[in-house]
Structure formats: structure tokens, C-alpha cells
């Protein structure tokens, strides 16, 4: 599984690192970013949860 954050859509709310700190972090530009690729299998569920919860639908999941 791969995750991607669209920085143009991200509203810097910080929710995705809260939900899935294994995959997401806030960058220096205050936008969320993916810090691990591919998503570790043990983090896939929370990564999907983060994508589901993203208030601006900025996270795309690509299932492998």
C-alpha cells in the first residue's frame, strides 16, 4: 500500500499524524507528508483510517 498527501489540498490540521503517526508527519511547510513508503503492513489499517478521516480528503491510498 502507498499513501500520498496532496499538499495543495491539505489544510494542515494535523489529524493524520494523530491517527497514524507511523505513516504521516507534519513537514516544515506545515503540510502533512508521508514519511514511509510503502506503508508498513501493520500500519495499513490506521493509514486507511487517516485517509477516511482527513477533513479535506487530501490523502490518497493506492492499494498494492
Amino acid at each position: 500500500m502507498k499513501a500520498r498527501v496532496d499538499p495543495e489540498v491539505c489544510i494542515s490540521c494535523g489529524l493524520c499524524p494523530d491517527v497514524c503517526p507511523e505513516v504521516f508527519e507534519m513537514g516544515d511547510d506545515d503540510k502533512a507528508r508521508v514519511k514511509v513508503d510503502p506503508v508498513p503492513p501493520e500500519a495499513e489499517a490506521t493509514c486507511r483510517e487517516a485517509a477516511d478521516q482527513c477533513p479535506s480528503t487530501a490523502i490518497q491510498i493506492e492499494e498494492s
Binding site: C13, G14, D18, V19, A45, T46, A50, P55, A58
Partner: protein
């Protein structure tokens, strides 16, 4: 169990709970604050994590959800992250529609309310009657009777010195707070217009299993049913409207009118909500809030708040003001989801009470008013909307109960038609 009975039994269970609570005991800051989570979906689980992070001497001791699988998934995740601090005993894991009542009677001090929005007024009332501090996710209702209930409950919370902290999280973001405070202090002059935009892609759907009743199907796919979510302009766009309301000093508009419909998300599985709303809120003095929200794939996305004043403009999420005295926020940028819980627990420890009741109820009502305008095609006065007796509720709260909307022979749910349906 009908809505009235639900409330009544909730109150009864809550009354028992008051006997177990001694709020002032927490002021010393040394004893454990026991957290109960009601609604174990993604946001609820996230809020529980925020709460555990906010106060090192807190523990998650009880969980409640309509569905056991949701609860167990949340519990496993939180235990994995917080170990013993989230090791909820099986006898304190409650499922079903009445799970929150059992949780309130299980010895919790603080309750996180994160179920689908429909249940918020009932559950908030039960929490406050039971003497619990509450973190209350947004929105706080789906209909005007629910909003009025929340307003009354929050008055009761104030009398009981209980905390009610809202999940309208931008109010706890330091940069947004400072930007809006500067607007309120006159940095852009008088507000002429506000543009609120919440245009995103599409959201989750959990499908349908043959063994599910219609009630279970709707509960599991609550986002797509107005009686459960309020529609997306209420469930999500309330964040935007809350910022506009904040800038308008939480005074309500005179009236609203709008356009909306289902243009792309038309399959039966998408229930009865719209996929776009555009609403104009008219305020005394002439200011207007132009509000747009859309959930469609493949379209441009934009989530922004632009305030236009007589002397300049403010871009809230970019925390900047342009005009005669340009300004950019350069302060700390903590996670607002943490900040709101830190505020809650600090208040409890200090024996103080935060009460976000008025704005969380009014901002929710602002969103409901917008939905009433788009669904009806009518111009609707704030007060008429707030006074409406029209409640969105099933015949009873049970998995074999009858939801307030049902599919036809082709699986299609009735959808509000502007110019035809009544909303008041």
C-alpha cells in the same frame, strides 16, 4: 425504545452515575481521571488518544459503541499505543444503542462523545445529568429540536460547573485564534462578506451485508443519511461555518437561502444527502456569508475561509491579514486536537469549567439552517428554523427499528426536492 424513552432511561442511568462522582477531588492533579469513550470510530479513537496524551494521569476505562466490531478494533488500536492506560476491562465495553447509559454508570469522570451526530443531544444531556465532564464532537445535532436540547443542556452544565469542550477544533488553534481575534479587533475594518468553502473529494462507504437490517445498514453508513449525519454541509462544513460565526461574534444571521442537490453522487447507496450546497446567510447590518461545500471526485478542492472587510482581507487557514497593516502569524503551531483536550483536562484539574455550548449549538444550527434552505428552496429565517419542531428520528432505537427514511423497490431513498418538500 423511542426517542423520548431513550432520553428518559438515559436520564435514569445518569442519575445513578452522579453518586459516583466527586469532581472537586481532581483539582489536586494527583488522582486518575477516568475517561469513557462513546463512539469508537476513527474520530472517537483519535479523540481518546488526544485525551490520553493531554493528561498523563488519565486512563481510558470504558468504551461504548453501537457495534462490537468497531469497539474492539478501536480498543486493540488504543491498547497497542497506550498499553495499560487503555486496557479497558471487558465488563466495561458496552455495545448497542443503550451502551452510553451503561458507560455513564460505570464510574467514568470524563466522557468523549463521538458517535454519529444524531445521538449527540441525547447523550450530552445524559452526561451532564450524570455530572460528567464532556468532550463533545461536532456537529452537536442534526435538527432544531436537537440544537435546543443542547442549548438547554449546556445551561445545566454551567450551573453544575461541568466542562463541555467542543470538537470545533479551530477555536483551539493558536494561529487561527489570533487571526480571528485581530479581525474582531478591527484589522480588516468592518466585515462586509465572508466566503466559506469546503470543496473536497468523496468519503468512505462501508457497503451492505445481507445479514444487516436496514437500521444497521444506515447506522454503518451514517454519513449518507440526513437523520444521522445532518448531511455533509452539517457534518463537515460546520467547521467552516463556525469560523464565520466566530467572526460574526456568534450572532446568528437573519435568514438564509441557497441552492443544492445531488448531481454526481446519485446511486442509491448514497442515501438521501446532497453532494453540493451553496448558501447565502444574510446578517443584520448587511454583511453576508457565502458558503459553499461540495463532495465530488475529480473536481478542484478548496477548504478556505476568506473574510472581506472595509479595510482589508483575512485568510484564516493561512493565518494572514492583508490590507493597510499586513500581518502573518509567526507563533507556535501546536496540534489543535491536542490543545482542545489539554484545555479540557487542565480545567478539570483546576476545578474550572469551560463551556463551549453556545457557539457549538449556534454553529450547528447555522449549518442546519443552510440545509433547510437548500432542501426547501425557500428563504428561511433563523428564528423560524430554530423554533422548528421537525425532528429527524426513527420510531425506536433498535437494530430492527424503522429508520425515518426507507428505500423504495429499487433501493432509492427519497431525496429532498427544492420547491416541493417542507422543512419547517
Amino acid at each position: 425504545m423511542n426517542r423520548r424513552a431513550f432520553l428518559k432511561t438515559g436520564a435514569a442511568a445518569a442519575a445513578l452515575g452522579t453518586l459516583t462522582v466527586a469532581r472537586t477531588a481532581h483539582a489536586a492533579g494527583s488522582d486518575v481521571l477516568r475517561i469513557g469513550l462513546v463512539g469508537c470510530g476513527g474520530r472517537g479513537s483519535g479523540a481518546a488518544a488526544n485525551a490520553l496524551d493531554a493528561d498523563p494521569n488519565s486512563r481510558l476505562v470504558a468504551m461504548a459503541d453501537a457495534f462490537a466490531d468497531r469497539l474492539q478494533g478501536s480498543l486493540a488500536s488504543l491498547k497497542g499505543r497506550y498499553g495499560e492506560r487503555a486496557a479497558v476491562d471487558p465488563e466495561r465495553c458496552f455495545t448497542g444503542f443503550d451502551a452510553y447509559q451503561k458507560l455513564l454508570a460505570s464510574g467514568v469522570d470524563v466522557v468523549i462523545l463521538a458517535t454519529t451526530p444524531h445521538f449527540r443531544p441525547i447523550q450530552l444531556r445524559a452526561c451532564v445529568e450524570a455530572g460528567k465532564h464532556v468532550f463533545c464532537e461536532k456537529p452537536v445535532a442534526v435538527d432544531p429540536p436537537g440544537v435546543r436540547s443542547v442549548l438547554a443542556t449546556c445551561e445545566l452544565a454551567a450551573k453544575k460547573n461541568l466542562n463541555v469542550v467542543s470538537g470545533l477544533c479551530w477555536r483551539y488553534d493558536p494561529g487561527v485564534r489570533e487571526t480571528i481575534q485581530r479581525v474582531l479587533d478591527g484589522a480588516i475594518g468592518d466585515i462586509v462578506a465572508i466566503q466559506e468553502t469546503y470543496n473536497t473529494g468523496t468519503v468512505w462507504h462501508h457497503g451492505r451485508k445481507p445479514e444487516w437490517t436496514e437500521m444497521e445498514y444506515q447506522m454503518r453508513n451514517w454519513y449518507y443519511f440526513t437523520w444521522l449525519s445532518g448531511d455533509h454541509n452539517v457534518e463537515q462544513h460546520v467547521h467552516s461555518l463556525d469560523k464565520a460565526a466566530w467572526a460574526m461574534r456568534d450572532e446568528p444571521p437573519l435568514r438564509a437561502w441557497g441552492l443544492g442537490g445531488r448531481q454526481v453522487r446519485t446511486e442509491p447507496k448514497f442515501g438521501d444527502i446532497y453532494d453540493h450546497h451553496a448558501v447565502v446567510y444574510e446578517y443584520a447590518g448587511g454583511a453576508r456569508v457565502y458558503s459553499y461545500c461540495r463532495q465530488m471526485a475529480g473536481c478542484s478542492s478548496d477548504t478556505s475561509d476568506v473574510f472581506l472587510g472595509t479595510k482589508g482581507r483575512a485568510d484564516i487557514l493561512n493565518r494572514r491579514i492583508d490590507g493597510p497593516t499586513p500581518w502573518r502569524y509567526a507563533g507556535p503551531k501546536p496540534d489543535m486536537y491536542h490543545v482542545e483536550h489539554q484545555a479540557l483536562f487542565a480545567a478539570i484539574r483546576a476545578g474550572k469549567a469551560i463551556n463551549n455550548g453556545l457557539y457549538m449549538a449556534r454553529s450547528t444550527m447555522l449549518a442546519i439552517l443552510g440545509r433547510m434552505a437548500t432542501y426547501s428552496g425557500q428563504t428561511i429565517a433563523w428564528q423560524d428554523a430554530l423554533d422548528s419542531q421537525r425532528a429527524l428520528a426513527p420510531d425506536r432505537y433498535a437494530m430492527d427499528g424503522t429508520p425515518p427514511t426507507l428505500p423504495d423497490g429499487e433501493g432509492r431513498y427519497p431525496v429532498a426536492m427544492p420547491g416541493v418538500g417542507k422543512v419547517l
